[in-house]
């Protein structure tokens, strides 16, 4: 076996008396990719933040190439050769690619003088971009790059700092399938150059595919450690959750009512966005929507809910046609829409859980023509629905949504729509960035809604999830419907092919 780069042992950390890391330890070889998995709150981020200099440890040792290190901020960590690529990239869209790469260590024109040497900057940036195989001019503003290329810029930035260890935190959440493949290729290349990688992800398939070794954390402890060959997805899930989950998806009796079209979409088109989309969504049905990012899935959802315009076609709910650009009307007709951007569009991050839940129902649940609010009744309604979706907090009227974990936040979004008792629920990536346990609970809520007779449009990038949950899957690509798959004919490869086919 090749030599060790990083050895962590006996790492402890607690916040306000709550121990979040207990005796965490693992090793990372030179030029190896280590997968770090665990549910949200299992201590992955804390461990990585200590390593990346964002947090300080209570006790324990970090040995980097045989030396004890204790980075106390991100600058320190970088100087040691540890680069941390956060889930939300820290690039500046108003600056050029080269400026972003060298923002805190610009090449100077003369020693001691604070002038940027533009020529050297250009050359070095070009070299760094070549390393990650990104063919854009270094002078391009980052604003013009798609997410995937921005990530490559971030990697190039790490490489210019002579990083020996690069930490990726959920790097693929905003990447298309093609961009993800490219990222994996680059990671493979970095490994070949002897750079070690720590890869954090909820997508266990990727972890198994990409990593040499895997460490599983649960409740701040290492519960599994070994080479990739020792693990399967089932075993990883069991270790992460701490109990055996027989199935990843809860069972549901198919209850589609064949003649009960809830939502009828006919030939909906909008230039450059979607083209000639037609489908029926029936009561009691979960219609999965699959497709690569940029295939028009989310755009279709926004059109259906009246957030974006369409130039041709018709959208009918029951007998009534939905007017253009009128989300309020759509809501009154029983539609609900869970956005893919939970933090930006789905929640008021600083407001309490209660305030978030009652927001879309304020008018309906008020009294009189002046619409007086009824705080007690509202509070009770919010408590009921929060209990139904199991938001794990007691004081829901005093807890800011910002402080909740991703899974709990998503449950709050679901709860706020459940309070309106929607008949058609459009879910755009409802399980993105939430852990296995929370995912399972979201699935159960969906099943309950369908059992009560609602119709669900379930948009997801994870094909397994759709196969596990949907009655039917609609595949989109380049803004068009590529085909439908019935439950009896679900086939991962065929769906993938339909999404990729040009």
């Amino acid at each position: 076996m090749s030599e060790l780069l990083l050895k962590i042992s006996g790492l402890n950390k607690s916040f306000f008396g709550v121990q979040v890391l207990r005796d965490v330890g693992f090793e990372l070889r030179l030029g190896a990719v280590l997968g770090l998995v665990g549910e949200n709150g299992s201590g992955k981020s804390t461990t990585m933040n200590i390593l990346g200099g964002v947090l300080t440890r209570d006790s324990g040792r970090i040995e980097l190439a045989g030396e004890d290190v204790a980075p106390s901020n991100s600058r320190d960590a970088l100087a040691l050769g540890i680069a941390f690529i956060h889930q939300e990239l820290s690039l500046f869209p108003n600056l050029s690619v080269e400026e972003n790469i060298f923002l805190d260590h610009f090449p100077r024109r003369m020693n001691g003088l604070p002038f940027i040497d533009r020529r050297t900057l250009r050359e070095q940036a070009k070299k760094a971009l070549d390393l990650v195989d990104l063919k854009v001019s270094p002078a391009t503003p980052v604003m013009r790059l798609p997410q995937g290329e921005r990530q490559l810029v971030e990697i190039a930035k790490a490489l210019t700092r002579q990083a020996r260890l690069i930490i990726f935190d959920e790097p693929t959440t905003s990447l298309t399938a093609r961009e993800t493949e490219r990222l994996f290729e680059i990671i493979g290349r970095l490994r070949a150059q002897g750079i070690s990688i720590i890869y954090i992800s909820h997508i266990l398939g990727d972890v198994l595919h990409l990593c040499d070794d895997i460490v599983v954390l649960r409740d701040g402890r290492v519960v599994g450690e070994g080479s990739r060959a020792d693990f399967t997805i089932e075993r990883l899930v069991t270790l992460m959750v701490g109990r055996t989950i027989d199935r990843l998806f809860p069972e549901r009796e198919p209850g589609v009512r064949p003649d009960s079209t809830a939502l009828r979409v006919r030939n909906v088109s909008q230039p450059g966005v979607v083209k000639d989309v037609s489908f029926d969504l029936r009561l009691g049905e979960v219609l999965g929507v699959s497709g690569l990012m940029g295939s028009g899935r989310s755009e279709l959802a926004r059109i259906l809910f009246g957030l974006d315009p369409y130039s041709e076609g018709e959208i009918r709910v029951g007998e009534a046609t939905l007017p253009l650009l009128a989300p309020r009307e759509a809501m009154d007709k029983g539609l609900a829409f869970l956005t893919e951007d939970r933090r930006g569009e789905g929640l008021m991050m600083e407001a309490s859980i209660t305030d978030n839940i009652v927001l879309p129902s304020l008018v309906e649940r008020s009294s009189g023509f002046m619409h007086w609010l009824k705080p007690t009744a509202l509070g009770q309604a919010a408590r009921d629905v929060a209990e139904r979706v199991r938001v794990n907090t007691k004081a829901i009227d005093r807890t800011a949504v910002r402080t909740l974990s991703g899974g709990n936040q998503q449950k709050v979004v679901i709860a706020k729509w459940l309070l309106r008792v929607p008949t058609i629920f459009i879910l755009d990536e409802p399980t993105r960035g939430i852990d296995v346990g929370a995912k399972y609970e979201v699935y159960k809520i969906i099943n309950q809604m369908v059992a009560d007779g609602a119709a669900i449009l379930f948009i997801s990038s994870e094909i397994e999830e759709l196969i596990g949950m949907a009655d039917r899957i609609m595949v989109m690509g380049r803004g068009e419907v590529r085909g439908f798959f019935e439950r009896s004919h679900f086939d991962r490869e065929a769906i993938m092919k339909a999404a990729l086919w040009d």
Partner: protein, 326 residues
């Protein structure tokens, strides 16, 4: 695709909106007044706009990090009073550095409250706007403060046929341009304006940069005071009163965003010329003086509207992820 193209087109139009406005104004004033379109008048406009230009350059630094400085007019008056009362006997080689130090100190007070106590720049500089003028009025006893002959000569004299005021503005502009575009510090200012949190994570000293830009803004205000007072010869109690208005308007008209991270030196200079052209044109037309604020407010409204539209459009372009991959 055509939709994307039309968006880009609108963005380009918005970018050049101030230029279009400038052309329209020149044309309108030129048609209405035969004295407006003359070389002498344009030279006049340029000279008169120098102090606003210099102050707008300073304001650009502050706006770039999402701040604002309302106290520049008071700094102007304070500096003019101090120069007239206490620095009338010393040479310019002493008095100019002295007023710059006063400016920097005033900016440091703003910056202390903003970075130290994390109070919004709007509130802090609103307070120091009154504080500065109050202090200066106390010193001057609200009387007219006359400037020394050396200062007044500076206002009248030229160098190679170009007034000193313009030379000073050129030097300030050059230093500011080099700082913003050719130094790591300058590029980091843009980064802080785009996203202060990310900037902190990227190891940039956000607090230090925020502190420094407020000092720079006040130093520029002090230099602007020197230019203006040398042209006028004396500082009345209303000297620099409401001057923050044309200064911020100039910067925003020049394309500097109130939302931070976008803008530059040349835009602000152009904005200052545009603002001065309007006042000059109105004077040429013998317009009712009560109309001036109305016209000015329309112009700053247009500037703010254009800025808002541009930000919305760029955000939308950023947000719509759909790319029909080919």
């Amino acid at each position: 695709m055509s939709r994307l193209d039309s968006r880009t087109l609108v963005l380009i139009l918005l970018r050049f909106a101030p230029l279009i406005l400038f052309a329209v104004l020149c044309l309108a004033f030129g048609l209405l007044s035969d004295r407006f379109l003359s070389l002498a008048n344009f030279r006049n406009i340029l000279t008169q706009s120098t102090h606003v230009a210099v102050m707008a350059i300073g304001m650009t630094f502050v706006l770039l990090v999402r701040g604002v400085d309302l106290s520049v007019g008071s700094v102007m008056y304070l500096v003019a009073v101090v120069m007239g009362l206490y620095l009338s006997d010393v040479s310019l080689f002493v008095s100019i550095p002295a007023i710059m130090v006063i400016g920097a100190a005033f900016g440091a007070i703003n910056a202390c409250f903003i970075t130290g106590l994390r109070i919004a720049p709007f509130i802090v500089t609103l307070a120091t706007l009154f504080m500065g003028r109050g202090l200066a009025l106390y010193l001057s006893e609200t009387k007219m403060v006359f400037q020394s002959d050396t200062v007044q000569t500076l206002g009248r004299a030229s160098f190679f046929g170009v007034p000193w005021a313009i030379w000073i503005a050129i030097v300030v502009a050059a230093v500011a341009w080099i700082t913003l575009t050719q130094t790591p510090y300058g590029r980091q200012i843009y980064a802080v304006g785009a996203d202060p949190d990310s900037a902190r994570k990227a190891g940039i000293r956000v607090q230090a940069i925020t502190f420094s830009v407020f000092c720079i803004c006040s130093v520029c205000a002090a230099v602007g005071a020197l230019i203006s007072v040398s042209q006028v010869g004396a500082a009345a109690a209303t000297f620099g009163y409401q001057e923050e208005f044309p200064v911020i308007a100039a910067a925003v008209l020049g394309g500097t965003s109130l939302f931070g991270g976008r803008g530059g030196v040349f835009g602000s200079i152009f904005g200052a010329v545009l603002v001065q052209t309007t006042s000059n044109g109105l004077v040429m037309l013998n317009a009712n003086p009560y109309l001036y604020p109305l016209v000015n407010s329309v112009i700053i409204f247009i500037a703010a509207w254009v800025d808002g539209r541009r930000r919305l459009m760029t955000e939308r372009l950023e947000q719509r992820k759909i790319r029909i991959e080919s």
